[in-house]
């Protein structure tokens, strides 16, 4: 959940370009239903994470998304009545009717689970590689007070994580350590106290009467342009040339060549900006 400062092209790009690039990947995952394309996107985000030197953070998102993905596949297989290829019959499920597991429901659930994995990977990558302060700075001109509130709130997250760690360590020193609930309670109480302090400080310093700041022009860097172009190409490919694939009533896949070419094009468009290493601070 915390930003990691690294010297990589994604970190070097301005926040708006990086956000557009992340959003384009999510858009691509949602607009295509082809599992090959979505699977490629999942791998591409992991590679991008490694290229942005936050690969471990992106990989760690799988710990959260994989159990959810399994749950999606299982639930969809049990509740979806569409699909004609029965692979298992679980008998009469009472109010749920005949529990027939179809290959189509399994495949659709798996594809949807892959989309979830991509979204969570992208979220992990964005939180680790896009400077939140810069994002909020760019939002100041839109809504100063909201940007300030969001800045304070995001600054609180790592602080509360640190608090939680410290309290946890202190608790482990006791003969009978308490449960996690006790830590959550302590951290929440601290957060409320801190927020009151912050609000009082902001009030005293006159933030409430602040005006909308002036626009500060900043030239586009080669990384900004590379990631913005990459986002545009990804969005154009996914919206303008989707690989057809339908799941119900039977699985109908479009041209495999189309899916392979689209996957390759998306991967190339997404990863090419990382090849530009010039101008990155060491």
């Amino acid at each position: 959940m915390t930003y990691l400062r690294r010297s990589t092209p994604l970190h070097a790009a301005r926040s708006s370009a990086a956000i557009a690039w992340c959003a384009a990947l999510v858009l691509a995952a949602f607009t295509t239903s082809n599992p090959l394309v979505v699977g490629t996107l999942a791998v591409v985000v992991v590679i991008a994470g490694a290229a942005a030197r936050v690969g471990r953070r992106v990989a760690r998102s799988l710990l959260l998304s994989l159990p959810m993905a399994v749950a999606i596949v299982v639930i969809n297989a049990l509740v979806a009545r569409e699909g004609l290829t029965v692979v298992a019959r679980l008998g009469n499920g009472g109010p749920f009717g005949q529990l027939d597991i179809t290959a189509e429901a399994l495949a659709f659930g798996a594809e949807f689970a892959l989309v979830l994995i991509v979204v969570m990977e992208v979220a992990a990558l964005a939180s680790a590689a896009i400077d939140p302060d810069e994002v909020l700075r760019s939002m100041r001109r839109v809504s100063f007070r909201s940007a300030l509130t969001a800045t304070v709130a995001t600054r609180m997250v790592p602080l509360l994580a640190l608090d939680s760690r410290r309290i946890g360590e202190a608790q482990r020193c006791r003969p009978k350590p308490g449960g996690r609930l006790a830590i959550v309670r302590a951290v929440t109480t601290n957060a409320l106290d801190r927020s009151l302090d912050v609000a009082a400080t902001l009030e005293v310093r006159g933030y409430g009467s602040a005006r909308r700041p002036r626009r500060v022009p900043r030239p586009f860097s080669r990384h900004d342009i590379a990631f913005a172009c990459s986002a545009a190409v990804i969005a154009a490919l996914s919206l303008g040339w989707p690989a057809p694939f339908s799941y119900y009533p039977t699985i109908v896949a479009g041209s495999a060549a189309h899916a392979i070419v689209l996957s390759g094009a998306l991967a190339l468009a997404a990863l090419l900006p990382f090849a530009q290493r010039r101008g990155i601070e060491r």
Partner: protein
């Protein structure tokens, strides 16, 4: 060693229980002699009629329809939205009957059985959304039952000595079906498929027959007897009276009473009406109709078309 045996026995018992509950891998065994009929307007227009529909394994009613027609579904595939581009809405929807009996559960929950005649009909439900039984799948449900259960056939005549009673018995005998004969509701345990034969004014003790004096929402039949059974009103799909027939009018209709098995009525406004109805009691006349009124020796499908 003993523990291993216990585990093995438990696993074997679990697998056996699953098999008994109809569980298993793959599509399962396909039922035989299944027929599919898809119509609109209470059977007025046929879209699909096949005695050999495509089936793969232990299909459900909705899955068989999807294999044989272009279908769109809603609510996770449990509700038929459109068949052959005819879409529900505006007071019309798709309803289905298996062996002439409206199922009490969704098509995705209804498994096919040997000999099932599945009938999907797209019709207006402004008069009623529940038509518990129809006659258009004759000789079902008498041959193969419904819901996978065979029920005994019982012919109940209010005038056992009348020729109409033996004529109806003859129709079933010709199909090599054994029917028990009896008086009206003389069996306290009603677990049979009843075929009631007699003038309507002699059926007053039968609560299921009494439904035929009410609107379609009560009986599921688009006709009703009035004037103590001496007149028969024919209704359109909106439940409005289109025509009224007097002496000599007959009716062949099916209904249900409080979850009991379906009961068929071969009745009329008088003995001549019953005789006319018995004349029409054959598969050719009943095919694809919800119910039949016989007026002036002409069979009129119900609901009656607006005139």
């Amino acid at each position: 060693m003993g523990r291993t045996r216990t585990i093995r026995a438990s696993v074997a018992a679990f697998v056996a229980a699953l098999a008994l509950a109809g569980c298993g891998l793959g599509a399962g065994t396909a039922p035989e002699h299944v027929a599919l009929l898809v119509t609109r307007g209470f059977g007025a227009g046929t879209l699909i009629a096949t005695e050999a529909p495509k089936i793969d394994g232990a299909d459900t009613v909705i899955r068989m329809l999807e294999r044989n027609a272009k279908v769109t579904t809603a609510f996770g595939g449990g509700f038929v939205q459109s068949v052959s581009k005819i879409s529900g809405g505006g007071g019309s929807a798709w309803f289905y009957y298996v062996n002439g009996v409206q199922a009490g559960k969704g098509a995705a929950s209804t498994r096919l059985h040997n000999g099932d005649r599945v009938w999907w009909d797209f019709h207006n439900w402004s008069a009623t959304d529940s038509i518990p039984a129809v006659v258009g799948s004759f000789p079902e449900p008498f041959v193969d039952g419904y819901g996978g259960k065979h029920l005994p056939l019982r012919i109940e005549c209010t005038q056992p000595s009348a020729k109409t009673c033996s004529a109806v018995e003859g129709v079933f005998s010709a199909m090599k079906m054994i029917a028990s004969l009896g008086c009206l509701l003389c069996s306290p345990e009603n677990q049979s498929l009843r075929v009631v034969v007699g003038p309507f004014d002699t059926l007053s003790s039968d609560p299921a027959a009494e439904q035929l004096t009410g609107p379609p929402a009560r009986s599921g039949v688009y006709a009703r007897f009035t004037d103590s059974g001496r007149r028969l009103e024919l209704l359109d799909q909106g439940g409005h009276v289109v025509a009224t027939a007097g002496a000599g009018a007959g009716l062949i209709a099916a209904t249900r009473f409080r979850g009991q098995p379906p009961v068929w009525y071969i009745t009329g406004t008088n003995a001549a009406g019953v005789a006319a109805a018995v004349q029409a009691f054959n598969a050719q006349t009943l095919d694809d109709h919800f119910a039949i009124a016989v007026v002036a020796d002409a069979a009129i499908p119900l609901p009656d078309a607006e005139r």
